[in-house]
């Protein structure tokens, strides 16, 4: 039974998109896409419950067996990703943005929902498929639709950011495709497990090393690993707020899964981390990301840009977990996928609330908002505390395991640096909180008309804020699953 519905996870949003295009009724499309996403979420949760504890579900498209046909294969790590993406999509879709993105007129709003659904199906496809080239196709489906979504932001620069994102993303995609080609050349198969079984990576084999390099660089562009992150701050700060929330919570997470899968499943930890010693590059880059991007965040005057730079820094934490290559650290990196999605998604939704009521999220415009919008501001504070990693929030859970993993590896200095870098988060979060609560509003920007955000906006933001606390105190379904996934990856499975 569960094998049958597995394929629906991707097919549902993929089919729902053309339905939206055909029906053309904005209200229907909104509710319809919400329903589809909810169904996907239900399927993802069912899958996660099913595979928890080491189960695997496999489905062969069209009945063709794996070497020839495409296999959809779900183990703990895939189910974790699916649940993460669909949960975030559900929350973001339930956010009532009152009129959609500014660039889209009412009569074309159905297209916006169609693109959104395509993006989701692309992301879910990457997470679910067991075929290397199929990953490329889904990667491009999700990327193309994200370029469109980004370009819909109200500001003129949104289009420019989308163009830049497109150029970077396409280069990354082509690198990925070349890497897959080299792997195919070396192994004669595109099925991930077959590749992993047949590939005997060695430093003398230039083709394999080149494949690894192309794949890692290609995915790193999509993941916005420092220093390949330049597209991200612009894209996130000019996209429609709902889109920023969605992309920040899901797109980079799926890319991270892809990177982990390539390194651990295809090439295997012994080759990547003992022979090639990739951590010698990955670890310094991660630490640089944590410090430089957080440092850049401190000097931003636009809240969205600040959060975007903070995202780059948080991706540094994830790749740091990757470079430890032990179960604790990798699980720390994986659990940070979910944790960061929850807090950053929540913060971007708060931004959306603020934008709706205040009209700007420039730091000067937010002076004294804490009194006018107490609930929104409280959600902002919770998200901010989680970014710092205060105990009792999800950020602390990630940090706990990342530092433990790094200490297990014997990298004491790196552990100190992780903790120190969270103080930079303290600075940029503190800066915002201080303005929101303590600074008097400027004479030129009266805020007397500002009221609390409507319930349809506030509720989703608060769901994520509450989740940031809830999953900071109970970690069985976050860390527990991430740990299982990490052990699976380290053993070379998916």
């Amino acid at each position: 039974m569960i094998e049958k519905i597995l394929v629906l996870e991707v097919v549902l949003p993929l089919l729902a998109a053309p339905v939206c295009v055909l029906v053309r009724h904005p209200r229907f499309c909104r509710l319809f896409s919400l329903g589809v996403v909810a169904a996907c979420f239900a399927i993802a949760v069912a899958l996660l419950v099913e595979v928890r504890g080491g189960g695997v579900i496999s489905y062969q498209l069209g009945g063709w067996p794996p070497p020839l046909g495409i296999e959809y294969r779900v183990s703990t790590i895939n189910a974790y990703l699916l649940a993460l993406v669909t949960a975030m999509a559900l929350v973001v879709f339930s956010f009532d943005s009152r009129g959609g993105p500014p660039r889209v007129p009412e009569q074309r709003r159905h297209l916006y929902y169609a693109v959104f659904l395509l993006c989701i199906s692309g992301l879910l496809g990457i997470a679910i498929t067991g075929d290397a080239f199929n990953i490329f196709v889904f990667l491009e489906i999700s990327s193309l639709s994200s370029y469109i979504l980004v370009s819909l932001g109200g500001h003129r620069r949104a289009v420019m950011s989308a163009f830049y994102y497109l150029v970077m993303g396409t280069i990354g995609g082509v690198f990925f495709m070349l890497g897959v080609g080299l792997l195919y050349q070396a192994t004669g198969t595109l099925n991930l497990r077959d590749i992993a079984a047949r590939l005997e990576p060695s430093l003398d084999d230039r083709g394999t090393v080149l494949a690894l390099a192309l794949l890692v660089v290609g995915i790193s562009i999509k993941l916005a690993v420092f220093p390949l992150h330049h597209w991200l701050p612009n894209a996130y700060s000019f996209a429609p707020p709902k889109v920023s929330a969605f992309l920040a919570a899901t797109a980079t997470k799926v890319s991270f899964y892809l990177l982990a899968m390539v390194l651990f499943t295809i090439f295997g930890a012994p080759f990547v981390f003992e022979e090639l010693r990739l951590q010698a590059v990955l670890l310094p880059l991660s630490i640089l990301a944590m410090f430089l991007a957080s440092g850049a965040a401190i000097f931003q005057t636009d809240l969205r840009r600040l959060l975007a730079y903070s995202s780059v820094a948080q991706i540094g934490y994830m790749t740091l977990g990757l470079s430890t290559a032990n179960a604790t650290g990798l699980a720390g990196g994986l659990v940070h996928l979910f944790n960061h999605a929850v807090m950053k998604g929540g913060l971007f939704l708060v931004v959306a609330c603020l934008l709706y009521r205040v009209g700007s999220v420039h730091i000067d415009a937010l002076a004294g908002i804490g009194r006018r919008m107490p609930l929104t501001s409280a959600a902002l504070v919770i998200g901010g505390l989680s970014l710092i990693g205060v105990p009792g929030t999800v950020g602390f859970v990630s940090k706990w395991y990342l530092v433990s993993g790094v200490l297990e590896r014997g990298w004491t200095a790196a552990a100190v640096l992780i903790l120190l870098s969270s103080l930079l988060a303290l600075v940029y979060v503190g800066k915002v909180v201080e303005v929101v609560y303590f600074r008097k509003p400027a004479e030129t920007q009266p805020i007397d008309h500002v009221r609390e955000a409507p319930l349809g906006m506030l509720a989703p933001a608060w769901v994520l804020a509450a989740a940031a606390v809830f999953f900071g105190l109970t970690t069985d379904w976050t860390y527990g699953v991430a740990r299982e996934a990490a052990e699976l990856l380290l053993a070379g499975g998916i």
Binding site: P391, S404, L407, V416, L419, F438
Partner: protein
């Protein structure tokens, strides 16, 4: 009521107080009810903690495990003697302070009183969480919560000065706790695989001496609320807060959370046997002695009364750290006693400073000439409490000083007599920074005979502060006297 439920009740009552504050003060608009509710719930909290004391004195260790947060890390509480003492001090003085705060906040016409009382109650919740924590995670969780919950209290006035102070407050406390305390906790976890507080300690004898020293210093500086130099600057800055905050939080709950954490970590993480006579012990004792003397010298030079008291607090906290660093049974006993004695004494001093502010709007020591004659109760209480801080019998503080001196001679270091000298010198310095206040108040000529008195014809004559301010301070002054006579019970409680 089982002791398990009692712990839960003791923890939740302050939360209830906060909620009722919000409802009565905010939603329903009944500030009078709000101000009655807080002391009442405070009394219930104290009763609940008192109920736990019976079990602990009988040798029991009531426990409450809520749930597992991370694999192997639980949110759990266990009441043991040190925590019980800190819990009693915090909850007991909360009652007095909440009465005092009503008098102060109204007498001083403060705004946002509901927010103030709400966060006040929540801070007590965090303090009790620290007191009863049964592992380092729970301790750290509530430790950070206390920092964040007291932040709105410190910045209560919302002025530029308050914001600046708030920034320093959060900056130093979060910096030390995240980069030192959290790191030390994670390192301990890495070394031992557990972070439970265990009698006899969890760090084995195989831990190298250098590692022990590094860890102890990380813990000591990481508990930034203990205000060891050079991480003490947040404390004088936090004095911009309304006086009841300074009184309860910066003489009792917050600063004591820091030293309490150090005491508890020394006893239950390191174990006295591991530390006694070690390099780690000696280095922390040296740092504590330095802080003790430096802060006392600085205190003498402060003209602002609250700033002077703040530096006095830094100096007195170092006594407790010194006791912990000795890692002897006597040292821990002295440290524990000093928590209680100093709390009673210092809260009185802050109450007096606040009462003077409410009655006369004077903040500086040099302006207090002759006030003792118009505010006799306040200044008499100040005198008694000063004696306790200095350590003169028959006031409570003298016992703590006595045991510290005994403890210093038990450490077995070659220079142990030097610590005796430090303690004596520090007491002498305390005379110099506290007594001038009393002397000016009672014996200096009042300036009101001069031109300033005649200038304001319609000014109200200076009198005692409102009753709700004076009664608590007299009460706490008498408490520091009473503590002298019940020190035996404390000693039997803190028997390690």
């Amino acid at each position: 009521m089982s002791s398990e439920t009692t712990i839960l009740v003791a923890l939740l009552l302050p939360v209830l107080a906060a909620v009722s504050c919000l409802l009565l003060g905010g939603g329903l608009g009944r500030p009078n009810l709000r101000d009655i509710a807080t002391p009442l719930i405070g009394a219930c909290t104290f009763a609940a903690v008192w109920r736990l004391a019976r079990d602990v004195l009988a040798g029991g260790r009531p426990e409450l495990v809520l749930f597992e947060v991370l694999p192997g890390v639980e949110l759990a509480f266990q009441v043991e003697p040190l925590g019980l003492l800190y819990g009693l001090v915090a909850s007991g003085l909360w009652i007095v302070t909440s009465i005092y705060a009503v008098g102060y906040m109204r007498g001083h016409h403060e705004h946002n009183q509901t927010r103030f009382f709400t966060f006040f109650a929540l801070s007590i919740f965090a303090a009790l969480g620290i007191a009863f924590a049964s592992n380092l995670f729970t301790l750290f969780l509530f430790y950070e919560a206390l920092t964040l919950l007291t932040f709105p209290l410190v910045t209560h006035h919302g002025t530029d000065e308050a914001r600046r102070a708030g920034r320093i407050y959060l900056g130093i406390l979060l910096f030390t706790s995240i980069s030192f305390l959290l790191f030390a906790i994670l390192f301990t976890w890495r070394l031992t695989g557990t972070i439970e507080f265990t009698p006899g300690g969890i760090l084995g004898a195989e831990t190298s001496s250098g590692m022990v020293t590094v860890l102890l210093l990380l813990y000591a500086f990481g508990a930034g609320k203990a205000a060891l130099m050079p991480f003490h600057r947040w404390l004088p800055n936090a004095m911009v807060a309304p006086t009841p905050v300074s009184a309860l939080l910066h003489a009792v709950a917050v600063v004591k959370a820091g030293v309490f954490a150090i005491l508890k970590i020394v006893v239950y993480v390191f174990g006295l046997d591991l530390l006694r006579g070690s390099d780690a012990s000696l280095s922390l004792m040296t740092i504590a002695s330095f802080t003790m003397l430096m802060a006392a010298v600085i205190a003498i030079r402060q003209d602002n009364l609250k700033a002077r008291l703040a530096y006095s607090t830094i100096s007195q906290l170092a006594y407790i750290v010194l006791g912990a660093a000795m890692a002897t049974a006597t040292g821990i006993l002295a440290g524990g006693m000093q928590i209680a004695m100093h709390a009673a004494g210092k809260i009185t001093l802050f109450f007096c400073a606040g009462a003077i502010l409410v009655a006369t709007h004077k903040k500086k020591v040099s302006e207090l000439d002759g006030l003792g004659r118009t505010m006799p109760w306040t200044f008499a209480a100040f005198f008694l409490a000063s004696l306790s801080i200095i350590g003169i019998p028959p006031l409570g503080g003298s016992w703590a000083k006595w045991y510290l001196m005994v403890g210093a001679l038990e450490t077995g270091f070659a220079w142990q007599a030097a610590f005796l000298g430090v303690l004596m010198l520090s007491s002498l310095l305390a005379v110099f920074y506290l007594m001038p206040v009393v002397v000016r108040g009672f014996f200096a000529a009042s300036p009101s005979a001069g031109p300033s008195g005649s200038a304001g014809g319609d000014r109200k004559p200076i009198a005692e502060a409102p009753f709700l301010c004076v009664a608590p301070l007299v009460l706490t002054a008498l408490l520091s006297l009473a503590l002298f006579f019940v020190a035996g019970d404390l000693a039997s409680l803190l028997h390690f």
